[in-house]
């Protein structure tokens, strides 16, 4: 299967074209998320809490790995990208439940700086950032699963 993917000179079939579009879309989401949190953190000066850092630890590599995969048209990337997205999703989901008050804090001690349950972790005043994070990781997971399905013989 890899011989077929890496052969860029032949005209891509509809199937491989669609897989590439999934990867490209997943990469765009990761890129937008990465630049978005960097903007909130570095430019707007809203300090990330510990859980945000853990999510960043999985989102940032997704941006790089998916960029390389899109550049090389390598659909096998789902094997590397999917675990990253799943772990990131798990942390984002936990964080969202924490902010929503459905699970209680104390399981993960947060640093002195910013509280992970703080209500002002929002953008545009009302959208909670952890929820956006869950949505971004979810979309990436779905796209990677579709790419996986398409790339399997």
């Amino acid at each position: 299967m890899s011989a077929q993917q890496n052969n860029n000179n032949t005209a891509p079939s509809n199937q491989t074209e669609r897989i590439w579009q999934m990867l490209f879309l997943a990469w765009l989401i990761a890129l937008a998320s990465t630049l978005g949190v960097l903007f909130i953190g570095e430019i707007m000066g809203q300090e990330p809490c510990v859980l945000c850092w853990y999510q960043r630890a999985f989102m940032f590599p997704l941006t790089v790995v998916l960029a390389v995969a899109c550049y090389l048209s390598d659909s096998a990337v789902w094997r590397y990208a999917l675990p990253l997205a799943v772990f990131g999703w798990a942390i984002a989901a936990y964080h969202t439940l924490l902010v929503a008050g459905i699970v209680s804090e104390g399981l993960v001690p947060c640093g002195q700086g910013t509280s992970c349950t703080s209500a002002d972790m929002t953008i545009f005043g009302f959208v909670p950032i952890p929820l956006l994070s869950v949505l971004a990781f979810s979309a990436i997971i779905i796209l990677l699963l579709l790419a996986r399905k398409g790339s399997r013989p």
Binding site: L31, L35, L38, M44, A67, Y71
Partner: protein, 218 residues
Amino acid sequence: MSRRTLVAVTVIAAAIAFIVAATIYKRSAEEQAAAAARSAVLIRPHSPVFGPQDAPVTIVEFFDPACGTCRQFYPIVKQIERENPKAVRVVLRYVTFHQGSDQVVRILEAARLQGKLEPVLEAVLAAQPQWSSHGGGAPNIGNAWRAAASVGLDVTRARRDALTPEITAVLNQDAADVESAGVTQTPTFFVNGRPLPSFGVNQLFALVNEEVAKASGG
């Protein structure tokens, strides 16, 4: 457009979008900060003033006695005062971002009542590493008192004065003005009400020189 070109173009477009958005955001944030400073009261009658009262150029320094950078800036501000003995006065506003800062401000204010603000301020800043919590752990305010006593502060009297409602009122008023002026870091300087364009020693010198030149009919 080939896939590779599309990926490359996306990277470049994202980088440009980020830089443009950052520039726009920073500019509007700076304008907001400047507007906040204009409407805030930077000088209060209770604020300690160094230099001639009628100096045409006023440097307002928001100052935290436990802040290491404020300590490093002290000789720089003194140098500006020395170089412009008639044109520049310095107004000190207290910021208590660090643990124990409020207690040290009380020492300074008690020293002011004894006419010893400047020597005590210098002694307390010199001894800052001994009493502040920079190395971790709790601040040791006893060491700050010892530093103040070493330059002739009447400690018995000062300890009584330090807890008076007048000094508490100074702390409260300065804390409120820190908030309304949008001061989030120390030291923060305003020269005739103008904030530094960006933080730094050279920026402070430049802004002071500009205002001094303006005041002397330049």
